[in-house]
Amino acid sequence: MKIKSIFKKTVLVAGMVAAALVQAQDIKLGFNGDLSASPSAQSGKAGVIGIQAAIDDINSAGGVLGRKLILVIRDDQSQPPKSIQNMSDLVDNEKVAAVFGPTNSGNALAWRHIPNQKKVVSMGMIGSGTDITKPMSPGADNYMFRVSMVDREQVAGLVAYAKKSGTTKIGLMGETTGYGQGGLKDLEEIAKMHGMTPLATEKFAVSDTDMTSQLNKMKAAGVDTVLVWAQGTPTGQLLRSMEKLNYFPTFLTSWAADNITFFDAAGKGLAGKPIFMRTMVAPSTPAQQKLYDRTAAKLAAPSAFPFVIHGYDATLLIAAAIRQAGGTDGVKMREALENLSAPVQGVMKMYDKPFSKTNHEGLTADDLAFVKWNDDKLTQHSDAIVKSLAKADFKR
């Protein structure tokens, strides 16, 4: 009896030690972004679904370097101070190998010095603010990467569209958040490159419901094409204010218009007016369709699907980096990403040396398409202007 019980205990202890060892072998990946507070929260949630799907697939195929991946999630409620605290939690406490996120561009700008200082890779998959992937100082090692839409790229496309349409009477509008301000900056700079000066530039707050005053000023200045950078809800309210004035200039805006909050705010009738750009319109490859079928039920709206793909692909790229670096050392991971030896088959596309020392964007304007709401679906938009656009028109 005694031997049997000692044997049992030994097996138990050995099992626990093994489990602990195995546990210690798991690679932690972190997500730091808004999942609940801002109008963009649905994108955050979709991104997490994508990351988790990729992790599940990778783990069932044996993991990375024989180790399983685990996702640690932190909701920053779109508040920069919280986002900074989360970053510290993930990097110093949880000791993650890489951080995904954030949802809101302003938050990345607030904490991007942390991954750079601590030498931990951050792979953005939602926030599109241009400056996120800028190095801390020119030529310095940069630990911020991204595989998502980039504001600058979208702006390049939209301004090219405006220029090609032949108008000179453009107007700019932006919301007063980091996202809106960053977008406005890009718009002004790229417009200048095309030799266009906006006749009016107006701002509004995220919670505004009546922008008729600002629009009247645009109208008075003679603006016939307006470029707007804001989140879903205020963009919708902007259209409603336009309806009050019966003033409908050509409306070019950011990908935030793909959000269900925009569609709800604008209503079916008005939602079809804006033209914007996205990385994809609808699942067009078997892989995308398969992922869509797998995750659609969990999404707040089908239009959030691209972020599932971005999250999935971001995870694949990180996994590839870890494999190439032979471990989770941040410096090696960065070098690996900047010089991926083997192409990575992502759901969006095939990533063949997507990053370099100077380019940390996985997706560029070439990967974007013009889209519009059609009833309650997003469809690809094509008109004479779009057809006439060439790569050279995209100044950035």
Binding site: T209, D210, N216, A220, K244, L245, D264
Partner: protein, 307 residues
């Protein structure tokens, strides 16, 4: 530019009517109990959500749906929802007074201020747990098509809000000035012990003040929802601006508060015309300015104390 000014005026009056209703709510409790509900904003949001939930249930959708999907509840159902909002908010107001204000009203310091703030936070947390942070588009009882007149556009809900606010204010004014109830409320504010000796049920008056004030908040939220979308954060801005309006008008003067509300709305609209980004700064700087010159508000009166 005249059209623009006219448009700004109308928009300003529409949004000002919501501020005026909120300001009135503040004035009611202050004139009777010398305290305020610092979480009036959360009560506004709550009113919107109660109304919205009743509408959802009435058209057969679950409480926590996120969209009406084009379903238009008819007028009777809307009225029912409004009634529900008023009743529930009234009860909340009673709870707030009994639990959160009466125990602290006589204590010096910020006890009742913090208490009402605490209530607001809890209310918002409960709301977030039930409905989540996403705003919901609520159908208006009078439709959504833009009405155009004299070259400017306005939505029917905005006109409805304006009309309802004016009616409420006129009724209020009449009650406060011409009826015994109004006089009793003012007596309670001046000197509760003497009012009590005169046969006024002081406790009932104070409860009544909070019930009415909270019901007003519920009304504001319900009316505002089709314009601004029902969201648990909608009340914050409106509450703050409504409070500012009450300060400018004079907390103990109901008419002043209402005028302050409209004034603030129109001012906001006109500053928007000039430069939208300075709007908030302009409004709150105005508050500071008015209070610096006339500490009791433009129409408020000084409360004399015997030394």
């Amino acid at each position: 530019m005249d059209i623009a000014i006219l448009q700004a005026l109308l928009s300003g009056l529409a949004v000002g009517s919501s501020y005026a209703l909120v300001a009135l709510g503040f004035s009611v409790t202050f004139t009777t109990t010398k305290t305020l509900n610092f979480s009036h904003g959360e009560f506004v949001s709550a009113g919107a959500f109660i109304g919205m939930s009743v509408l959802f249930l009435a058209v057969g959708k679950p409480l926590t749906s996120t969209s009406f999907g084009g379903v238009q509840p008819d007028a009777m159902i809307q009225l029912l929802a409004l009634l529900a909002a008023l009743v529930v908010m009234g009860v909340l107001g009673w709870l707030l007074f009994v639990l959160g204000v009466r125990p602290f009203a006589s204590r010096p310091g910020m006890a009742w201020v913090m208490s009402t703030l605490g209530f607001g936070v809890i209310l918002q947390s409960i709301g977030l747990a039930i409905w989540g942070p996403k705003p919901v588009v609520v159908p208006s009882p009078v439709g959504d098509d833009v009405i155009r007149m004299f070259g400017i556009g306005v939505r029917p809900q905005e006109l409805l809000m304006l009309a309802v606010s004016l009616v409420v204010m006129v009724i209020f004014d009449h009650v406060m000035r011409k009826t015994m109830v109004g006089k009793a409320m003012r007596a309670v504010a001046q000197n509760p012990s003497v009012a009590s000796l005169m046969g006024v049920n002081v406790n009932l008056m104070m409860i009544g003040a909070f019930v009415v004030s909270s019901a007003l908040a519920g009304l504001s939220g319900f009316m505002l929802a089709p314009i601004a979308q029902a969201s648990l954060f909608m009340g914050l801005a409106v509450g703050l601006k409504g409070f500012s309006a009450a300060m400018i008008g004079g907390l103990n003067n109901a008419r002043g508060c209402v005028i302050g509300g409209f004034l603030l709305g129109v001012l906001e609209s006109f500053v928007n015309l000039w430069s939208a980004q300075w709007r908030e700064v302009a409004i709150f700087a105005l508050v500071i300015l008015v209070l610096a010159i006339r500490p009791n508000g433009l129409f408020g009166s000084n409360m004399v104390e015997k030394v």
